[in-house]
């Protein structure tokens, strides 16, 4: 059709916009009208899971410190802060664990060394 010339040719992967691009728009954008066949797409459990797959978790982006779309109310920042707090807690736990392990190891090194000393002393004494 000649009317197609009115627009620049589709760019990028052109007609081959990836499936995620298409699903993102066809499932998640576009106007919602309740037809006679009433199916709320968000009630479809597996579909919802897949939609989450399509749209990478905002948490992950927050973790990377990307939050300049903060002004978009749909993408709240709370999740990211929670994530950071959780990671902090994990790190603290990890450090405690490591220091605990070190403490045990040194204590463990010392004890067998001390005991024979003691027994020597006891033997001497």
């Amino acid at each position: 059709m000649t009317t197609a010339q009115r627009l620049p040719d589709p760019y990028g992967n052109g007609g081959g916009a990836n499936l995620a691009d298409i699903l993102e728009r066809v499932l998640d954008k576009g106007i919602v009208i309740a037809g006679d066949i009433r199916i709320n797409l968000l009630d479809i459990e597996l579909l919802t899971i897949k939609l989450r797959l399509i749209v990478a978790s905002v948490d992950k982006a927050k973790e990377m410190g990307i939050d300049w779309w903060e002004t978009d109310p749909q993408l709240s920042s709370r999740a990211g802060r929670d994530e950071l707090a959780r990671e902090n807690a994990e790190l603290r736990a990890h450090v405690a664990e490591l220091e605990g392990a070190r403490g045990e190891v040194t204590a463990g090194d010392r004890q067998p060394a001390e005991k024979p000393q003691k027994t020597e002393k006891e033997a001497q004494g």
Partner: protein, 264 residues
């Protein structure tokens, strides 16, 4: 009459027949259902696939979903060439033509208002990805394997201090990288917005489904007048080269999916 009505989009009458070879969902050519000042573009679909039960089951099937989504988009694409359609969400199904007509009547005012707003505009999608580097790959692999919270306790180099220093360096490197990516995306979004009447920032896409290499940083949609589209596309093209380590991807022109809501 057997068969249900699948509605793709609502448009102003556009006075052009749809391409004869155009097929939509279920392999059926769409037709125009004119009602007053509006046209619904509909296709007859079999009840054994699109009645509530079977439709629900089909939607759980990613292959069926993918094929149906592409068929839906195929029709919307053809409409976008001849008019500025208001695209409906996937799987909007009515029992018969009269159901579609009463829907058009009920929402006539809203439809006309939205169609006026979208008239002569298209949507362009712009995504920015960070190209995967070796370091980033390693860092991601380490995070992905869950090594972060539970590296083996007795490991030789594993003093808490070393561990933290290592983590800090990794974090600093990736922070700097993301800062650059963020700054680039911010500037790009700003200059593209200059050509757009409206913009939407969508959540980044997951590469598991898009199969696009690298990590998606910016995923934005721009509502651009057709007359500005060439300039918009050129601008995206120009910025492609001044971002080492980043990749800019343009998709479109789309029907104004991201701007079809009343709140838009």
């Amino acid at each position: 009459m057997s068969g249900l009505r699948y509605v793709y989009a609502v448009c102003r009458p556009f006075g052009t027949p749809l391409p004869a070879q155009l097929t939509g969902v279920a392999g059926v050519p769409p037709k125009q259902l004119v009602h007053g000042d509006l046209v619904a573009v509909v296709g007859q679909v079999p009840a054994e696939d699109f009645a509530e039960g079977p439709l629900r089951a089909h939607l759980e099937d990613l292959d069926w979903l993918g094929a149906t989504a592409r068929a839906h988009q195929n029709v919307i694409d053809a409409l976008t060439v001849v008019t500025s359609p208001l695209p409906l969400r996937l799987a909007t199904v009515f029992r018969d033509d009269s159901g579609v007509r009463s829907m058009l009547e009920e929402r006539e005012e809203t439809f006309l208002r939205t169609l006026d707003r979208l008239d002569g505009r298209v949507e362009w999608g712009v995504k920015v990805y960070s190209e995967p580097t070796e370091d980033a790959g390693k860092a991601e692999a380490a995070e992905g394997s869950g090594a972060r919270p539970a590296s083996p306790p007795g490991r030789a180099a594993g003093s808490g201090r070393d561990y933290l220093r290592q983590r800090r360096n990794q974090r600093k490197e990736s922070e700097e990288k993301w800062e650059r990516a963020e700054e680039f995306s911010r500037r790009l979004h700003e200059s593209l917005s200059g050509y757009a009447e409206d913009t939407r920032i969508h959540a980044p896409q997951n590469s598991a489904l898009s199969r696009a290499p690298g990590r998606n940083i910016l995923n934005a949609a721009y509502l651009v007048p057709r007359t500005e589209s060439e300039a918009f596309v050129e601008l995206v093209d120009r910025t492609k080269d001044d971002a080492p380590g980043l990749r800019v991807e343009l998709t479109g022109p789309w029907a104004a999916y991201s701007f079809s809501g009343e709140d838009a």
